[in-house]
Symmetry: C2
C-alpha cells in the first residue's frame, strides 16, 4: 500500500495484494494464487466478516463484530412471508428482474414520505439482494480500471473491496477524528482530480458514527457537480440518528439527479439483515445499465425477501421507534464502559448508526490487537486498519448486540486490560 | 462482433457494445453511455430477461421465455420456511458468509449420494444466492481482462455476459446441431490457445437440450488438464435427463479437482427459482478466493432460502420424480406441435433440460422474429442470436410452462404461421 500525504488527505494506491492484510491468511487459511485473477488477488474478505469467521472457532466469544441487530425480525414481517408462502402461487418463482412492481411502488412511497423524493417506480427504482449488491453493481457500472473513487477514511471496508474489484483506485479522504469524525470538505475538494470518477458517501457513517451536516454534504454536491463525479450513496443507517440531530442525504439534492446512484437497505432498520433485501434509486439510464450487472450476478432478489421488504415498508413502523430507542440506550451503555478504561481507548461519541471507532491509546497493530483480544478476552472486534489509513491503531465495536452482551464483552475487555496493561 | 472461422469453430471477439443487440434498446428503452464503464457498455441484460421484460407489456402473452418451472414450490419446503420463521430466533439475521453449516453439510451429503463425490463441507463448499452468483463469482475470480473462456455455441447467454463483465473474451465452440447439439470435442481441442483461461460447461445443455456423453466430456477434461485450463461447471439441469440416458459431469473427474469450480442450483430441481439459492463445490483455495467476491456482492445468501434449500436436499424427493415425468410429457407435447409446422421450424429433440432450440426455416433475424411473434402472436420466445453465433436464425422455447400453456402458445404460433407464410 502506498500512501501519499497531500495536505490533510492521503491518496492510497493499493499496489499489490501482499499489502492487504487478511486475518484469515494470518491464521493459516489456504491462499491460492494459481489461476486467480489479479482483481481478486488484490482484495480480501472484509475484515468484519473475517473476524466473524475466526470468531466461530470461539463459541463463547462476545461479538462486537458484524453489525447485526440483536432483535428478532418483527412478527408482522415474518407473518407476511408465511401468508405469501401459503396463498401466493407464484411465491417460489423468479420475480421480474427489477423486482415486484408492488415492492417498487412501496419503495417509491417510502422515498416520498420519508425523504420527500418523487421517484418513478417503474423506471428509476429496482430491487436488489441487499445494498451490498446495489453498491457493487453501481461501482462495476461506473468505474473503469484506473478510475479514482473518493471515500472517507475511515469508511466501510467493503467499499474498498468493491472499488478494487472493479479495477478502481480508492482515494481516502480522512475524516476529522477530534471533531467527531467530521467531513473534511476541503480535503474532498483537494482530492478531486481528472481521474475522479465517483465518490461513495455513507451517512450516518460507518464506522465513525458521524452524522454529516447538510451544509457539508452540499459542499460535496457542489464539487461533484463541478467535476461531473458520480455520487453513490449507501444509506443503511438513515433511520438511526441520535440526540435529535438533523438527517440529510445527498439523495435530496435535485441537481445531482443525473449523476447519482442511491442505495438503500432494509436490513438494519427492520432487523432483517438475513433477508438480503434493498433497492436502488437512480436516473433511468443508470438503472437500465445497472440491471445488466444485476442480471448477471443475481437475476433477481429473493421473492420471499421482497414480500418481507414490502411488509416492512408498508406495515406498522413502531418497531423502528423501539429499535432506535434501544440503540440509543446501548450507545450510552457502551460509552459508560469506555469511560472506565480511558487509558486503553479514546472515543468519539456516535451521533448515528450503531458503531463506535475508538483509538487504542497504547500503540498497537490493529489486526494483531483484535486477534489477541479474541484469543485472550474472547471478544470479537474489527481491526481499524481495514477501514482505511485513518483507521490505523483503531478498532470498531458494533453495539447492535444486546445490553447484556455489551456488559459482558466490555467487562471482559476491562478485566483483560487490568491484567495486561 | 468479429467472427473468425477456423476450421469447425468460430472465435468471436466482442469488439464494441454497438455490436451487441438489445431487445429493450430496439424497443426504445433509455440507453445511457455517459459515466458508464466500458465493461458494462459491452454487455446486455440477457435476452431471456429482456424478452420477459418486454413480455410484461403484453399480459395475455404465453411465455416460452424464462425457464421457470410452472410448479408450485413443494409444500414441505414452504412449510420448513414457515417453521423457521416461527421458531428460529436467528432466522432474520445474517448467516455466516459461507452459509449455514447445516446446509453446507446437506450439500455435501447430496454430492455424495447423487454423485459419489466426497467433499469437505467446511472448506470446499459455500452457499450462494443462486448458481448465477456462483458463476459470475467464479469468472470474476479466475478471468483477467483479455483471457479467453471457451463456451459452447449455443450456450447460456448469461455466461457470455459474465465473461465479458470480467473483461474476458468468450470463445465459442459450435455444437453439432444435426447430431442433437453434440459436443465437438475436436473443436474444443483446436480452440484452446495460450490465452485460454477457462471453459464453462453446462450439461444437460441450455438451450440445445443435449446430454453430453461421458467419453466426450472426458476428452474436454483431458484438454483442460493438458493446458491447465480451469473448468467451471453450471449444473442446474443435472436432475433432468430423458429416455434413461446416462448423466455424467466433469465434477466427477478426480484429476480436475485442483482446476475446477462446480456450480449447483436448486432452482429447477425443486421448483424454487425465486428463492435464489445454490452452492459451489471447489478446491479450498478457490473457495477462499471466491468468498472475497461473494462477500463484496452478496454478503451471504438469504437465510430463509438456505433453510428452504436444506429442506429441499434433505426432505422427500418424490417431487423431483413427479417434475421429471411431467417435463417428459411436456417435451413430447411441444415436439408434436413442432411436427405440425415442419415448414417453419426444424428441431433436435431434447435429451435433457427443458429447452428446445429450433432453427427457423425461413431466413429470419432472430431478434426481429421474436419481437414480431410477441406482438402478432402473443408468445414470448428468446432470440437465438443471444446464445452465440450458432444461434443465428434459431429461437429458444422453454417448455417448463404447463401443458395448457404449451398447447395455447403453439396453437397461436401455428395460426400465425398459416396467416403469414
Amino acid at each position: 500500500m502506498k500512501a501519499v500525504r497531500k495536505g490533510r488527505f492521503f491518496i492510497i494506491i493499493i499496489m499489490e495484494d501482499t499489502s492487504k492484510k487478511s486475518v484469515l491468511a494470518m491464521e493459516g487459511y489456504a491462499v491460492r494464487t494459481k489461476g486467480i485473477s489479479e482483481r481478486v488477488q488484490k482484495i480480501t474478505v472484509s475484515a468484519i466478516k473475517e473476524m466473524m469467521m475466526l470468531g466461530l472457532s470461539y463459541p463463547d466469544a462476545v461479538s462486537f463484530g458484524q453489525g447485526t441487530p440483536s432483535f428478532r425480525t418483527p412478527a408482522h414481517i415474518r407473518g407476511r412471508v408465511k401468508k405469501e408462502l401459503d396463498e401466493n402461487p407464484h411465491i417460489g418463482k423468479y420475480s421480474p428482474m427489477s423486482g415486484y412492481k408492488i415492492f417498487r411502488d412501496a419503495a417509491a412511497k417510502a422515498l416520498l414520505e420519508k425523504r420527500g423524493i418523487s421517484a418513478n417506480s417503474d423506471r428509476e427504482i429496482y430491487i436488489t439482494a441487499g445494498a451490498m449488491e446495489a453498491i457493487s453493481t453501481a461501482v462495476l457500472t461506473v468505474v473503469n480500471p484506473g478510475d479514482e473513487v473518493l471515500v472517507t477514511s475511515p469508511c466501510f471496508p467493503s467499499h474498498i473491496e468493491q472499488i478494487t474489484l472493479a479495477g478502481g483506485i480508492p482515494v481516502f479522504v480522512p475524516l476529522i477524528e477530534e471533531e467527531g469524525w467530521k467531513l473534511d470538505t476541503d480535503g474532498f475538494k483537494k482530492a478531486i482530480t481528472k481521474k475522479t470518477k465517483a465518490m461513495i458517501i455513507s451517512n450516518p457513517s460507518n464506522p465513525g458514527g458521524a452524522v454529516f451536516p447538510k451544509e457539508d454534504q452540499l459542499k460535496l454536491a457542489e464539487f461533484a457537480l463541478a467535476h461531473g463525479s458520480i455520487v453513490i450513496t449507501d444509506e443503511p443507517y438513515d433511520f438511526l440518528v441520535y440526540d435529535n440531530r438533523e438527517f440529510y442525504s445527498l439523495t435530496n439534492v435535485p441537481d445531482l439527479k443525473n449523476q447519482r446512484i442511491s442505495c438503500f437497505s432494509l436490513s438494519k432498520e427492520y432487523a432483517m439483515t438475513g433477508f438480503r433485501i434493498g433497492y436502488v434509486y437512480a436516473e433511468e439510464g443508470f438503472v437500465n445499465q445497472m440491471l445488466k450487472v444485476h442480471d448477471a450476478i443475481a437475476v433477481c432478489a429473493s421473492g420471499l425477501s421482497q414480500y418481507a421488504g414490502l411488509e416492512a415498508l408498508m406495515g406498522p413502523q413502531e418497531c423502528v421507534d423501539e429499535f432506535r430507542e434501544e440503540f440509543a440506550k446501548r450507545r450510552d451503555l457502551i460509552c459508560s464502559y469506555f469511560d472506565e478504561i480511558s487509558d486503553l481507548f479514546s472515543y468519539q461519541k456516535p451521533q448515528g448508526a450503531y458503531y463506535i471507532f475508538p483509538k487504542v491509546i497504547p500503540s498497537v497493530e490493529s489486526y494483531e490487537f483484535c486477534i489477541r483480544l479474541l484469543k485472550e478476552a474472547r471478544v470479537v472486534l474489527v481491526p481499524g486498519d481495514a477501514f482505511g489509513p485513518t483507521g490505523k491503531g483503531h478498532v470498531r465495536f458494533s453495539f447492535a448486540c444486546s445490553q447484556e452482551d455489551i456488559s459482558e464483552g466490555m467487562q471482559r475487555i476491562i478485566k483483560w486490560w487490568k491484567e495486561n496493561k
